[in-house]
């Protein structure tokens, strides 16, 4: 197992290099450059400033050379400074946005999994029952509802009409003046709407996967056997079927890992949450190459790690799948 993991890790190095190279080339080839945004569409903007910055950023050199320069620094985890007028280090910019996004997405993920598994299992074991039909309708409504629309409706209802919850942001503006528990409550109440909206869409998909996977498993022979042994339905489902049904779900879960730091642009924009999604989109729009690349490296690394984790957890969840080395039995 360790050997397998090591081999996969080593293999992912050239893969990562390839990803960064292609990304670098693609972003450099995208029409418009960082300077089209720094020096505005304005007659008084001096052209010589533009030339100076092109030099300073090294944009006058060929792409492969630029990439090489970037790579040499990146291996030392130096991703440079943003091209924007704030000129701050890329890692600082990412660092101040990452915790919020990570925090929000972990909660979302936990809620989604926590709810989707029972919903899926129940609607699979009661296929075509009223409950199944209701959840199916619910799930398709969830699939079809655009995030931003649901967000706006909830904001109007709970924020404007009822006034129960804050509309946007993460903290009230008088946060510093609140007591400790008030602060916790304030933060929590700001999180309710974004989490509800984000969960709603994700829940739909996830519970469907769960249902599908469960349906396949309960038709298997070993489930029949378990039932024939005279085990209670409850034991059959939770002990024998569920574990196998979780297999594909684990893959999806692991692959969702990079999404945890990617963040959701729509939700972050509409709720004014300063997270990774917004940072990425802004830096792409302003062709802020260092920030874009910094972000990409992190997401690409996580994707590769997630794949590896998915494969390894497969082995843990499914006794039939083991990788090389000693074959263990549980």
């Amino acid at each position: 197992m360790a050997l397998f993991a090591l081999r996969r890790l080593l293999l992912s190095i050239p893969l990562l290099l390839g990803i960064t190279f292609v990304s670098y080339v693609v972003i450099s080839l995208a029409p418009g450059g960082p300077l089209d945004f720094l020096t505005p569409e304005d007659p008084n903007a001096s052209p010589e400033v533009k030339e100076r910055l092109i030099k300073e950023f090294g944009l006058d050199r060929p792409i492969y050379e630029q990439y090489w320069q970037w790579l040499r620094r990146a291996v030392r985890l130096d991703f440079g400074r943003s091209f924007l007028p704030d000129g701050r280090p890329v890692l600082t910019k990412i660092g101040e946005r990452l915790p919020v996004t990570l925090f929000l997405n972990l909660i979302e993920m936990a809620i989604i999994v926590g709810l989707a598994v029972p919903i899926g299992v129940l609607s699979a074991t009661r296929q075509y029952s009223l409950y199944d039909k209701i959840t199916t309708v619910f799930v398709f409504v969830g699939f079809a509802t655009p995030d931003f629309w649901l967000a706006l409706l909830l904001m109007i209802l709970f924020g404007v009409q009822l006034g129960w919850l804050p509309i946007s942001g993460l903290r009230s503006l008088n946060w510093e003046y609140l007591s400790f528990w008030q602060q916790q409550w304030d933060f929590f109440s700001h999180l309710v709407l974004p989490i509800v909206v984000a969960t709603f869409g994700g829940l739909a998909g996830f519970s469907r996967y769960m249902r599908q996977s469960m349906l396949e498993v309960v038709r298997q022979d070993y489930v029949q056997t378990a039932r024939a042994k005279g085990l209670s339905e409850r034991t059959v489902i939770s002990k024998h079927a569920l574990r196998n049904a979780l297999l594909p779900v684990v893959t999806i879960l692991a692959l969702a890992l990079p999404g945890l730091i990617g963040g959701s642009v729509i939700i972050e924009s509409i709720f004014a949450i300063p997270g990774m999604g917004q940072l990425m989109v802004q830096s792409v729009f302003s062709r802020d190459y260092p920030v874009v690349m910094g972000n990409l490296v992190i997401v690409a690394t996580l994707t590769l790690v997630a794949n590896l984790v998915a494969d390894i957890t497969y082995g843990i969840v499914d006794p039939r799948i083991r990788f090389g080395g000693r074959r263990g039995r549980r």
């Binding site: 720094l38 304005d42 007659p43 008084n44 704030d86 000129g87 924020g159 946007s168 008088n174």
Partner: protein
């Protein structure tokens, strides 16, 4: 437009009044006029929350070109001079200024009571430093032209600054409204060319009415009032810029009273969706012409538009009032020229083109465009029909609607029009700059000074330059040159009045309208009034009566 974004007050106040101040007031919500009078003496306290759709770029505004940075910067920094409510230059950190008779020497006397936020005195050394920084090729400041025309700057004593110009420059004084930078904090960074990386760019020290407290990127900027401000401590204790990237969310926050000031409402939001009693009680609405006009621009290199009568026919075929009502719900004012109404250089005594399709047809016929085969479309003498394309940028609903209405109106006089919407960057790069267009719908800022050399002078017709219609008129050229090289306002008025007359006759573009700026301010805030410069010109005098203060703060 010229230096528009580069200056302190001009951005805040970057919105003027088409009519004179009195006429402006009549269009303001009536409760506003009584509010300041009855509320008693101004008091200190409370927090002012402004919603901003974009995050700030940095806190040395001379290095940035985005509006948010300049709005925040205008409260932290000051220039030697500033704009007053009527858009005149008045002293700020300079006590006074004098010109030599030949307009080449400009002398500023500085106030002696100005201090940086860290307690150091502000002196002529800082002015000198700011000038040297701006002209330093290592400084990535997008707007430095005004400084490059300076021959030299001297500081004979700590409170006197001498500026010499090579040639008379009409906007010399305006140049010095640039935010002054602290020499004692920035010198080494400016010399090394690393201003963007200096602490000043994230924790600025200025001389303005508000001190910097906190910047959470993507979330908010917090400023607190400067008790040592040389004009007296501002009344509102705290100012918070909240970054809310979604227009819809800003509007909902406004309805829930989560923000005190929004300047970006759409016409529908302003005219319809905020017209209910609770909103009218919580907010005062203001309305005054913004500092830019929308126009229908001809490509004068197109032989069909070389004939002035054709351009005039177009102007007669279009009803400006119809556009204003249809596109802006009436929230705009007719434009007849490129100078902002209500400013000193503006004149109304120019040719107006009323909606008159018959006259338009007659003018077209005079120019040789007649419907020769009876298909409803006019043709030239070779039988070639008059068809053209109106282009504008995608994502601007107003301009799209203008194009559609104009299309309809031009059809009435026998001209076939197509509409093409193109993504902004591509539109500018592929069509506007290479002059590959027939008609465009675009907007232009009017700036604070009437000097529009770059827009109308025949030397400015190159691909990267701003004279996009390709207009060339020797008399206008001469007037523009005279106008920008005089420092005597009386003379300049004459030049600019004449320019407006000629432009109205020549019509290199059909001037359509000045949009109204549509800000709303929480009604608990008093002392707000609209003027040609907008509403923010006296921000440090705004206050909230004790009983209405909502936020506790230091």
């Amino acid at each position: 437009m010229p230096r528009r974004r580069a200056r302190v007050r001009s951005v805040l106040a970057g919105i003027g009044c088409a009519l004179l101040a009195t006429a402006c007031n009549s269009s303001i919500d009536s409760r506003v006029e009584e509010a300041p009078a009855t509320a008693g003496a101004p008091v200190f306290g409370d927090t002012f929350i402004q919603a901003s759709i974009g995050d700030i770029g940095g806190l040395i505004p001379s290095l940035t070109s985005d509006q948010s940075s300049h709005e925040v910067g205008s409260l932290i920094y000051d220039g030697l001079v500033k704009l007053d409510k009527d858009l005149n230059m008045v002293p700020a950190m300079a006590e006074s200024w004098t010109y030599s008779r030949d307009c080449l020497d400009l002398t500023f006397k500085l106030r002696r009571d100005v201090k940086w936020h860290d307690g150091r005195p502000f002196t002529a050394e800082d002015v000198l430093f700011t000038y040297q920084t701006m002209i330093n090729p290592k400084t990535p400041a997008p707007f430095k032209e005004g400084f490059l025309l300076v021959k030299d700057v001297q500081a004979p004593d700590p409170y006197t600054v001498h500026v010499r110009y090579e040639k008379p420059y009409a906007r010399a004084v305006e140049t010095w409204s640039t935010y002054m930078l602290p020499k004692h904090l920035l010198q080494s960074f400016a010399e090394a060319g690393t201003l963007r990386e200096s602490p000043q760019n994230s924790r600025p020290v200025g001389t303005g009415p508000y001190r910097f407290q906190e910047w959470k990127p993507g979330e908010k900027v917090v400023l607190i009032s400067n008790p040592d401000y040389y004009e007296g401590r501002p009344h509102l204790s705290r100012v918070v810029y909240r970054v809310i990237p979604s227009q819809a969310t800003i509007f909902l926050e406004l309805k829930a009273k989560g923000v005190d000031y929004v300047s970006t409402l759409t016409g529908i939001q302003y005219a319809r969706q905020t017209e209910y009693p609770a909103f009218r009680k919580a907010y005062n609405k203001f309305r005054y012409p913004a500092s830019d006009y929308t126009f229908l621009g001809f490509n004068l290199r197109d032989p069909r538009f070389a004939d002035r009568r054709v351009r005039q026919a177009f102007a007669h075929a279009i009803s400006k009032q119809e556009l204003i009502d249809g596109v802006r719900l009436g929230l705009a004012r007719e434009a007849n020229g490129p100078i902002r109404p209500g400013t000193w250089a503006y004149t109304d005594k120019v040719v107006h083109y009323d909606y008159d399709p018959e006259k338009a047809k007659a003018l077209l016929a005079e120019a040789g465009w007649k419907d020769r085969d009876g298909d409803g479309v006019v043709e030239d003498k070779d039988g070639k029909p008059f068809t053209l394309t109106i282009r504008t940028n995608q994502g601007n609903d107003e301009r799209k609607k203008i194009a559609e209405i104009v299309q309809q109106r031009l059809k009435e006089i026998g001209i076939n029009v197509d509409i093409q919407l193109i993504e902004w960057a591509a539109f500018i790069k592929e069509f506007v700059k290479p002059r590959r267009f027939e008609l465009v719908v675009l907007g232009l800022g009017t700036g604070t000074d009437p000097d529009q050399f770059v827009v109308w002078h025949s030397s400015q017709r190159g691909p990267d330059q701003m004279n996009r219609t390709g207009y060339a008129n020797a008399e206008v050229d001469a007037l523009l040159e005279a106008g920008r090289s005089s420092c005597v306002q009386r003379e300049r008025v004459r030049y600019y009045h004449r320019i407006q007359e000629i432009l109205a006759e020549d019509l290199p573009m059909v001037f359509l309208y000045y949009r109204d700026a549509l800000p709303v301010v929480a009604s608990r805030i008093r002392g707000v009034s609209a003027a040609p410069a907008g509403i923010l010109y006296n921000f440090d005098e705004w206050y909230v009566p004790k009983a209405l203060q909502r936020y506790t703060s230091g």
